[in-house]
Amino acid sequence: MVSSPFAVKMENVNFRYSSCAAEGLRDINLSVRHGECIVLTGASGCGKTSLTRIVNGLIPHFYEGELRGDISIGGKNITSWKLDELSMKVGSVFQNPRSQFFNLDTTNEIAFGCENLGISREQILQRINKTVTDLHIERLINRDVFSLSGGEKQMLAIASAYSLGPDIFVLDEPSANLDAFATNQLREVLEKLKGEGKTILIAEHRLYYLADIADRILYMEKGRIVKEWSVKEFGEVSKEQRTELGIRAWNLSQVKIEHHRSTSKEETGLSVEHLSVAYTPKLPILCDISCTMPRNKITAVIGRNGQGKSTFARCLCGLTKENSGKVSYEGKELPYKKRCGKNFLVMQNPSYQLFSDSVMGEVELSLKSGKKGGTTEAWDILRLLSLDEFVEQHPMSLSGGQKQRLAIAAGIAQNADVIILDEPTSGLDYTNMLRVHTLLDQIQARGKEIIVITHDYEFLVNTCDCVIEIEDGIITDQYQINTENENKLLRFFMNI
């Protein structure tokens, strides 16, 4: 049946989006053999997502533009593929787990594609059973999709694609919203797909989990493929070269703790005593937590999703009320009602937090609520966060990183003492990760305490000073980030 030795073949492919300014593709020549796993990497906006869209047919059918060159998928020219038939050949998984399912129950979600393509009910049942047993996802069946964790949702997305029986899988930053544990689960499923001889194309920033799966790594820049390595070669790429290209680590155990922060004495900052939170009496989320977070250190809160980490942050920020216990800043108690605004949360998706119609307006809105006026102050803050050239722009027209900075600017303008960041580096390449690192150093220098919730090992090791591990609603460990604790931390992330 297989006529061509290549699952995907592109010759001199060029593409330009007709509607948006996003970078297209230039002179792409790529041949992917059957059963091969290709990793596409490069800075945000380098064209790796566009490349995946060509393979699954979203370009040019969904994202319109000017496409030139020869493309064949499964030995058949792209122009002779009908889009619905292509979906049985190429399975797609996207970045955002919350926006790729259609049904509210998981079983029907796996069946959804089959239903659309008019496959008979008996066959659909068989396919569901095959998908569930092949991918070992028995625990996902018959559940409410909204009750699934992010990792489980991504697993469901893979299962839904799998049930259509494709032999090529295209994944666009599938781990961007996942914690370390879910990323490991993702790796296991990808290993299974590879073991079955599926061809896999994956666009990613986070690379370490692909070390045992990938065959080739392609580096893209401004719409072109500029570098290519085999797995073996890629393992030998030096740290300097990686940093220069902005590529994430391939092997986490090679990421060394480098920064040497002054070992100055810890100053009292935020602390909690006997804090308990429960949404229902029988189901406590946090049980009797006590800890201190020094004012002059960057504290990282780590732990599996759904184990109390985000509830902890929400409680610190005054979004969720505690059932008992207290939160204090510099030894003075901060009651629930006063916490909001004093402890400022920068959300994982900062676009939620921007309400004004210009960058300047955004800062002024916060200055007002912080009961301080004056545009000199606003300019000062915007300069600190290098947003001063965008004062007139609409917040929604900013890039992801700029939105994040603007949210932080709002926090500073609101005169917050503590800035809490939820996953500030999810989906960022190495260069942008370092940028967040520098930024946090700067705002800390202004006397703000910083707490980050993170799953990003490289960022953690680069930027943070101490770690609080939360599991099952209690603090399981709390330690400094130094060479002695390196193994402990690494074990936590590699889930050994």
């Binding site: 955002n96 070992h136 959300m347």
Partner: protein, 252 residues
Amino acid sequence: MKVDTRCVPSVAKSTDALLVGDRRTLEPRTKLLILLIINITSFVQSNVLCETICIAMIIFAMLYHRSYRLAIKNLLLFIAMALLILLTLRVENTVVGMLSVVLIMARKIFPTFMFAALLMSTTQVGEMTASLQTMHTPRQITIPIVVIMRFFPTIKEESRGVLDAAKVRGIRFTFWNFLSAPGKMMEYIMVPLMMQLSVVAEELSAAAVTRGIDSDKQRTSLYQTRFGIVDIIFILLFSANLIFAFMGGGIW
């Protein structure tokens, strides 16, 4: 690859349970038809008895679906509303009079809302499409229904995000703020909410395309739905009440 045979029966069993259903529910088309009947009844009837029968039957339908909490909540809400109307009618004051008009309007559409809530909470998206497809409904109708039912929980989730974000930014959605700056407050909720929803919508449609949503083949269904005797009983009951409403509900 080795297949773990132990889990095959368990999966088969669980899918069977889902499809045959130990859930007690009316056929989705029955629910849609009853919703329509209730809608007409509400606007035709001009009589307390007819209205009471309608509410009672909806409560009965809720109990049949084992939606006990929904039944109690709605019953209490309706009683509260009825009492409030009685109370406002006794006070002679223009403002109170206006309030009572609003309440009477609300009471008119209340049965429809009650049944719609039942329909939403007891119907799987897949059941609905399966049911419509047995009548060869084109996918131009079934797909939008999937999307609408999928979008309600999303709107809820996204609004929660927006409200939290506003709180962090020191924007309070208090009653006083709504009175003094209603435009600003609406803007603070609607603009970010619409932005987020449009992002979700775009990503969702891209994902849909890769799952064969615009295929021109006849759509099939995992679920199977069938009319039963209970469906007929419920339809007859609600139709009888509709006739009663048309007759002016005039027993006395």
